[in-house]
Subunit: 217 residues, 2 copies
């Protein structure tokens, strides 16, 4: 049995990764984090995706109480209409987030006998977030394995070289229910349309001459 762990945020990328991994025959356990992000909407989305796919899941409730990120501190503003081609790390950066998430994922993987950890990291993210870079993922895989009993768990980031348009195209083929995913950094009734995450998503749907189902609802 091809057991694997998937880091599931409830966003478009990790959900597409889940459908891809499942299509390729993996028996998945989803790992979902409540890390005091600005809203619970993405956690609800992740839970819905898990239910639709009838897969196992674990929740980790934690906090990065010391960080100064606009993604975890509601008193701060999420940047709006930012230059998306800049290489500047945005204020939504949470120090060490994927390092912590992957650490738990490796712990879970070893405990359930899974040999793969899936993550939805990709090329557009790592222009801004250092913990989405392929170099980081490779280094982390080596480090974690050198500190574990099993020592043979792989990180799979199948979207790493894709942009958002290519991810949506793949998602459409895999019948990903985009209407149940949530990418916006804010937790409104509809996506704000102004944060980086919304803008990458809306732009990609537009380029494909499609309307994001979240905007249709």
């Amino acid at each position: 049995m091809k057991r694997a762990v998937i880091l599931l945020s409830g966003g478009l990328d990790s959900t597409t990764t889940l459908y891809l991994a499942k299509r390729n025959g993996h028996v998945l356990t989803a790992l979902i984090f409540d890390y005091h992000q600005r809203h619970k909407k993405e956690i609800k989305a992740a839970t819905k995706i898990v239910e639709l796919n009838k897969i196992n899941r674990h929740f980790v409730r934690t906090a990065f109480s010391w960080t100064h990120s606009s993604l975890t501190d509601k008193k701060k503003h999420v940047p709006e209409n930012r230059n998306l081609v800049t290489q500047v790390i945005p204020s939504t950066y949470v120090a060490g987030r994927n390092i912590v998430f992957l650490s738990y994922a490796f712990s879970l993987a070893e405990s359930i006998g899974a040999k793969k950890v899936f993550i939805g990291a990709h090329v557009q993210d790592y222009s801004g977030y250092p913990d989405c870079r392929p170099e980081f993922l490779r280094n982390f895989e080596r480090a974690a394995n050198s500190g574990m009993k099993s020592g043979d768990i792989k990180i799979e980031a199948p979207l790493i070289n894709k942009n958002k348009k290519e991810i949506i195209t793949l998602g459409l083929k895999l019948k990903v229910p985009f209407e149940h995913t949530w990418s916006c950094y804010e937790g409104g009734i509809k996506p704000c349309g102004k944060c980086d995450s919304c803008r990458f998503r809306i732009k990609a749907f537009e380029e494909l001459e499609l309307v994001d189902p979240l905007l249709r609802k």
Copy 2:
């Protein structure tokens, strides 16, 4: 200012590391984990050490709910009178524990502008626990830095090549209040004397012709 984070369990090793780092002029922030270990006694010990030294501290409450470790599952038995020179990983191993702990420590370090993370890992531990090995610590340092904004945080494991006897000798010089530390895997009134952690500690005090102050109380 030489800011640093220290992973503090409340045991003899991490407490000695704290006194050493402080003596060497570091301004410390302690990171203490409540990860559903068998008892709260070591957390109380860590809190006491923090109070005695008047340093900042952060708590992380988490769980490794999926692990099968005798250190987090009270229904299991902690091994007693085990062969201490074996290389077999004991049932007290918690999958990925130091990987998770170091991940949080790097997140905290970057957030407060600290350039060092102190950990009390040492030679006797890494015979059994893979996440105490020097190779793992080096790999993790490289990995974490490649996934962070700062990228220049160092892991300091000053006890790495010492055995318990040498650690106690160093602690005595540094006036470490061993009576306020707690090493036993069980949470009794006195240390059980049978778990690996007790036996390494008792043996080392005996070799130095001293009595562990915890046994005197």
